[in-house]
Amino acid sequence: MTETFEPVIIGFTCNWCSYRAADMAGTARMKYPPNIRLIRLMCSGRLDPTFVLKAFASGADAVLITGCHPGDCHYVEQNYKALRRFQLLKRVLTQMGIEPQRLKLVWASAAEGAKLAEAITEHTEEIRALGPLNWPTGPNGFEQNKPEEMVVQEVTA
């Protein structure tokens, strides 16, 4: 394959800050790579670690979680819950053999379109250098292509 690797990044944004930051980046015609697929949540506190695991299991190369700056949460303190879940989830992912830099947390207020665009660019480049994750249950993973077929290894019981 001579094609260059284009990472797929799932981005979770908060309705009150980072989604508006992305909006602002758009209206201001700032450029950021199209590798990120943004999903809007009402709050980063809505981010169930399931969403992140599902993204990886379905073939994403990285996940970017964004939310309001500490102290600025529209729902008072839910972004702190996102922070704690992020820190715990990162430990779990590391133990599962997923490089910790594939999961990132960025705070961006509604005014910080440039900051968000920059963070997305930076994360995309970092993952591009790191290479694909290709989790076996994803669309390009071997477990997906032949779910009926049992893969047997030359190892005895």
């Binding site: 169930d48 399931t50 053999g97 047997v152 290894q153 005895t156």
Partner: protein, 330 residues
Amino acid sequence: MSTNGKPKFAMYWAASCGGCEIAVLNIHEKILDVDANFDVVFWPVAMDTKYKDVEAMPDASILLTLFNGAIRNDENAHMAHLLRQKSKILVAFGSCANEGCMPALANLSSAKDIITTAYHTLSTDNPQGIEPQPDWNAPEGEIHIPRLLPVVKTLDQVVPVDYYMPGCPPESPQIAAVIDLVVQVLQGKAELPPAGSVIGAGNSTVCDECLRTRNVKLIKKFERIQNTKLDPILCILEQGVLCSGPATRSGCNALCPVAGSPCIGCYGPAEGVLDYGARLMTAVASVIDSNDPDEIDSILDGIPDPVGMFYRFNMAGSLLRASKGAWDGK
């Protein structure tokens, strides 16, 4: 095979410990109902039958098969396919068949590493470094032993499953209730639940059945239970000891927490939960009493093995299913 006209019953164990079979026998005199209403045609732990007896049966001739155990090797997978073909109703019975349970913690190591640990580490007396061979030509003929699959799978990752009965093992009163139901269905007095249902368990969480008193949870430090003197009335998680109640399906009457030991999650994910560990992480992380990243990290140090903790019973049934190293065979 007898021809007494009774519907046929089978029970099989794949990668499991045998606790599920004991739980079935633990229904006491109710086991006579099984015998009165069913012709037990295959149950390796209780009677002498051979795989070829099952192979000789017509397709879909067994009415009810309780399948416990995870799919660890190609023999387990073969039996799963065979029993699926021969059974009308296939029940994933117990945590191993549902979500992998303890055998699936092997999904954190590659099959190669498992063999190395078993045959070539300090605790094994194996000076010649002998490993079992899958195929062997003995003077009496060729011998085959099962091969490990790269990762442990749940039953429904290998064949379609009709019903799910969780628990490690399923609680005997729940088993008795399910047998009662099946007998009533046979007599035309009741109807089977919709295919794909979870049977013999509740629809809520262990916390919902737990009798302990709950207040606001604010945790500054996670403690191992052996280092704590637990209050007998208060919620266990509130006291800083990890308890899996918030993510675990009800059905056991909160046996462990009521007895003074944290829930370890053997009844699997609660209704509607896609990934058990993620749900438990959500609950545990949100009650950490700190907003400072460094302090949060030092509190999290109190959980030395997060994957082992959050996926103790659910590794094979989780979204990621196995670690990268296990998938890659490295």
